[in-house]
């Protein structure tokens, strides 16, 4: 709650950008506003109002709720079940050792094998996941970053085994390594060679697997780690430019690469503000199209379109009075709809203390359906466009994002800021200050620091590792190591090392070691010899 002004009882409100928020907005706040220049029609440059002309009148946003976790044994079964019910978009999560390139028998992997996702040590593991699933008829989304090149190569080989031309493979790899140094932490190599590997994946996809989305740049994790509303858009845009420039260095044009990029951006969170989240996404669309046009001279309209899906952030939900979270998620969903999202996944009301239940997952889907089918909120494109407040907020946020991008440039670029730990320190500081505001009650959290009730403390639920899953996985790994042709593995890894040293695209040289059943851990260790390992800078 803001302090009251002397002699009046009007509550003072300060925006997340630190500027005072007026009681109301009027044409005086938009004196330089020009409709065609600043907004334009939906689907027209600068795309402030939306990247398509008719938006939800033609197609609603995609409602994407992730369901529970699967072990390696059940993933194939679950995929087949989903397909028999008409689902053609599969989504695959990997366990942490697979994400950071460790084999299941690595001592550091001990506690995490088969948890949060599938364990993949060899091509044989990967092929088992897709056995009997025609890869020319599905699209698979992989949450994978540091080991994305290996997973991409495995998918191509799994297709090859089924006789599916790689040109027909469809799917997405996250492949956004830079945010892993800022948040989430599944890095392996230092940033520079990692960027090179991101470029390898994109380059390979452009020419060999053209229907595959090679990058999804994420702002959601950064937001959970303390980024404010504008940073949660500006930092991903800055990161996307690093990937773009890496690929352009190899002789591609902006219109080859920009249309392949998409973003996953946050709505909601610990310091959610409804109108700011709408403003930041509208501002992001305008900023991106101007950046692509003016800085990169992009011509293809698809390069100018800021394509994003939104994630409804679990960080703002509370374990106390959990049904209140349904109200929070509804506000997040509304903000995402008003911002023109193309796809939405919403946090579940119980996810703060439990592995999301079927009821909670279904409720998040129903929130979206109620809004879509019962309320009319999706009937008109960008219904807040022209609001004195929203337009003035959009202008302010775009200006702030430009400032952030310029500041990053001045400091030597986002990679430099990651290497020095500066950006991590800044976000850690912001996260701490926000937590203190929540602790003191300066920032209200209903049911936690205000309007509390005595209720029995809710217990936390955790992912349990089935020790048999790990034992079975290790036994499989050891059997493959015994049966394979060790000399062929060694030869193929030596070749891979040479190629990596020569700074060539490594993707084509992953096929032979994988076919020889070299393990993910062996491949990554080989690359570590060339690229080195990341050492975290001090960040607090």
């Amino acid at each position: 709650m803001g302090k009251k002004k002397e002699g009046s009882d009007v509550r003072q409100v300060i925006s997340s950008l630190g500027s005072p928020v007026k009681v109301y907005y009027s044409p005086k706040d938009l004196t330089e506003f020009e409709y065609d220049r600043d907004l334009g029609k939906p689907g027209d440059y600068p795309f402030t109002r939306g990247i398509y002309p008719t938006m939800y009148r033609s197609a609603l946003w995609t409602m994407r709720q992730y369901s529970g976790q699967a072990t390696s044994e059940s993933t194939n079964e679950r995929f087949k079940f989903l397909m028999s019910h008409g689902q053609t978009g599969l989504s695959l999560a990997f366990d942490l050792p697979t994400q950071v390139g460790l084999d299941s028998d690595d001592p550091l992997a001990e506690d995490d094998v088969g948890k949060l996702g599938v364990a993949v040590d060899t091509l044989a593991d990967f092929e088992r996941i897709f056995e009997g699933i025609p890869l020319d008829q599905v699209s698979t989304s992989f949450t994978i970053n540091a080991t994305a090149p290996v997973i991409l190569a495995m998918y191509v080989l799994a297709g090859e085994k089924q006789g599916v031309d790689q040109k027909k493979l469809r799917g997405t790899i996250q492949n956004d390594i830079l945010k892993e140094y800022i948040a989430r932490g599944t890095w392996i190599f230092p940033p520079k060679p990692s960027i090179k590997l991101v470029g390898d994946c994109v380059e390979f996809c452009v020419s060999e697997v053209p229907r595959f989305n090679a990058i999804s740049v994420s702002g959601t994790h950064i937001r959970e780690y303390g980024a404010n509303a504008v940073q949660s858009i500006a930092i991903p845009i800055s990161i996307a430019q690093v990937y773009i420039e890496e690929v352009m260095k190899r002789g591609f044009g902006i219109d080859d690469i920009a249309p392949l990029l998409s973003f996953h951006l946050p709505v909601g969170g610990r310091d959610f503000n409804f109108f700011e989240d709408i403003g930041k996404l509208r501002a992001g669309r305008r900023l991106w199209s101007r950046l692509m046009k003016e800085k990169y001279q992009a011509k293809d309209p698809r390069s100018l379109q800021f394509r994003f899906s939104t994630g409804g952030m679990g960080g703002g939900l509370t374990a106390d009075q959990p049904l209140n979270n349904i109200a929070r998620a509804t506000a997040y969903a509304l903000a995402a709809i008003f911002s023109g999202t193309r796809s939405m996944n919403l946090a579940c009301f119980d996810e703060v203390y439990a592995i999301p239940s079927d009821l909670a997952i279904r409720t998040s889907l129903r929130i979206q359906q109620v809004l879509a089918y019962e309320t009319g909120v999706g009937d008109v494109v960008d219904p807040l466009g022209g609001s004195y407040y929203v337009e003035s907020l959009t202008n302010e946020m775009e200006a702030k994002m430009v400032e952030i991008l310029e500041s990053i440039e001045r400091k030597g670029g986002i990679v430099q800021e990651i290497e020095s730990g500066e950006i991590q320190r800044e976000l850690a500081r912001q996260s701490y200050l926000l937590q203190k505001k929540l602790n003191s009650g300066e920032r209200v959290s209903v049911g936690v620091n205000r309007f509390t009730v005595e209720e029995e403390e809710r217990d936390l639920e955790i992912y349990k590792v089935d020790p048999e899953t790990r034992d079975r996985q290790i036994a499989r790994l050891h059997r493959i190591k015994e049966e394979r042709d060790g000399a062929r593995v060694a030869r193929s890894l030596e070749k891979l090392e040479l190629v990596a040293k020569a700074e060539e695209n490594i993707i084509p040289f992953l096929f032979e070691p994988l076919k020889a059943q070299a393990t993910l851990g062996e491949i990554i260790s080989t690359l570590k010899k060339v690229y080195g390992e990341y050492k975290e800078p001090a960040t607090v």
Binding site: L96, D111, Q435, Y463
Partner: protein, 133 residues
């Protein structure tokens, strides 16, 4: 201060769990409370953490775990500390820890357990009371 010096704390992330936003918040809070805090960063082994605790002569070792592996990690940590002759150092665990495991951890010999959503003050109060600050 304890015996004329500031309380020294090691905050550690053990294993592959990359969620360290809570650990970083706690590090800053403890520092603001006048304690000396060393943060290990991600992906430490039990052995590395115990050596760091010895080298830095800390009064408290705090481990933050959100991946659900707290029981096996606590088991290995306490055993290693004993092997290395660390006796008077306080151990704290924080993160996604169900009630039943809070009891188990305490029975194993962990001094303080603070599941997610614990108040920052609770943690500093606990440290001060138990270290006779």
């Amino acid at each position: 201060m304890m015996n004329g010096r500031r309380i020294r704390i090691l905050i550690a992330k053990i294993g592959l769990d990359g969620h360290d936003v809570g650990a970083k918040v706690l590090v800053q809070w403890l520092r603001d409370q006048g304690m000396e805090v060393i943060y290990t960063g991600l992906r430490q082994t039990v052995e590395q953490v115990v050596e760091a605790a010895l080298q830095e002569a800390v009064d408290v070792v705090g481990v933050s775990i959100l991946s659900g592996s707290h029981l096996s990690i606590a088991n290995r940590l306490l055993q290693r500390m004993e092997e290395r002759g660390i006796k008077d150092t306080f151990t704290l665990f924080g993160g996604t820890i169900p009630k039943e495991d809070v009891r188990t951890l305490k029975a194993m010999g962990v001094h303080g357990v603070f599941p997610s959503h614990a108040h920052l003050e609770e943690i500093t109060d606990f440290i001060r009371q138990n270290l006779k600050y």
